[in-house]
Amino acid sequence: MKNFVLIPLLFAVVTASFQAVAEAQIATLRKGTPLDQQQADPDQLQPYSDRDVKQPRAYPMQPPVIPHKIENYQVDLNVNKCLSCHARSRTEESQAPMVSVTHFMDRDGNFLADVSPRRYFCNQCHVPQIERKPLLENQFKDVKAVLNEAD
């Protein structure tokens, strides 16, 4: 973890923390700007980490985070840019990790020949990372640490 903050996790923590605070104090990234308006003074975009070094999973079932930029990757009906490297047939040339075989399974538990349509949109679970300090102190503990404490 450390500087490498899982964005979904951060959001979860932020949301949970704010629920304790009065609603009027809720701070959003858009600083309360209505959705149909442009924010007057938007925050600077943070560059995505592009180190290409695999990150550990914070918990066993965590979808692996993406250690590279995915800006403008096209994932739609026509083409899936992610799979042009991570598909089973492409990994020899790309040397990228193959999409997990669990993704070949449809909702009835049948294994298909290729990625199941329900797993097609990678970004639903896998996200790139930004290297920055957590906005709030994070008390997440790895399950191993928890187990060690219990002993």
Binding site: D52, H68, N72, Q74, V79
Partner: protein, 195 residues
């Protein structure tokens, strides 16, 4: 009709009676400048983005898509216009491509892609023409700006560095082999190499 033509031909082969040699030489020279300049001006006029997107086929489809990409909007404000990538910059090749592009006038007149659906149906074929062209000229239009000799691998990500220092450096691959769909959306890529 043929009689008339023959008369003009005979006339053209005779020496000038009324005009002086100096007038004809200088006149020819001046007219040459005017015609040649005019030709090049017209050629340059067709080699601008404004000209390209004067057709709704280009403005509504490919130009819209370009705008969200790094070749249109980026930190340094350097951008590529249509002809930067789609027309060779050197004169000979430019003329060749421009001649070839006269087919696009035909397409415009007969409305080959005058609706969004028609465009999407034809998109793969059109894209394949561009990929083939860039493959054949070793991605010349990419390299007009992105010069391999001046690439600093230390500033690239690991994946980019690995590929550029091996496959690209050895000439085994050229830019377009990997960088498809960087300025426009991709058609259905089923069956295309690399997807």
């Amino acid at each position: 009709m043929i009689e008339l033509l023959k008369r003009y031909l005979r006339r053209a082969r005779q020496p000038s009676i009324h005009y002086s040699l100096g007038f004809l030489t200088l006149g020819g020279f001046v007219m040459g400048i005017i015609f040649w300049g005019g030709f090049n001006t017209a050629l340059e006029a067709t080699n601008t983005e404004t000209f390209c997107i004067s057709c709704h086929e280009m403005e509504d489809n490919v130009y819209m898509e370009l705008q969200s990409t790094v070749h249109f909007s980026n930190g340094s404000g350097v951008r590529a216009t249509c002809p930067d990538c789609h027309v060779p910059h050197e004169w000979t090749y430019k003329i060749a491509r421009k001649t070839q592009a006269s087919k696009e006038v035909w397409g415009k007149i007969f409305g080959t892609i005058n609706t969004r659906d028609k465009f999407l149906d034809k998109r793969l074929e059109l894209a394949q023409h561009e990929w083939a062209r860039l493959k054949a000229n070793d991605s010349l239009e990419c390299r007009n700006c992105h010069d391999f000799d001046y690439m600093d691998f230390t500033q690239q990500g690991k994946r980019a560095r690995d590929q550029h220092s091996s496959a690209l450096a050895s000439g085994e691959k050229t830019c377009i082999d990997c960088h498809k769909g960087i300025a426009h959306r991709l058609p259905n890529m089923a069956g295309v190499e690399g997807f």
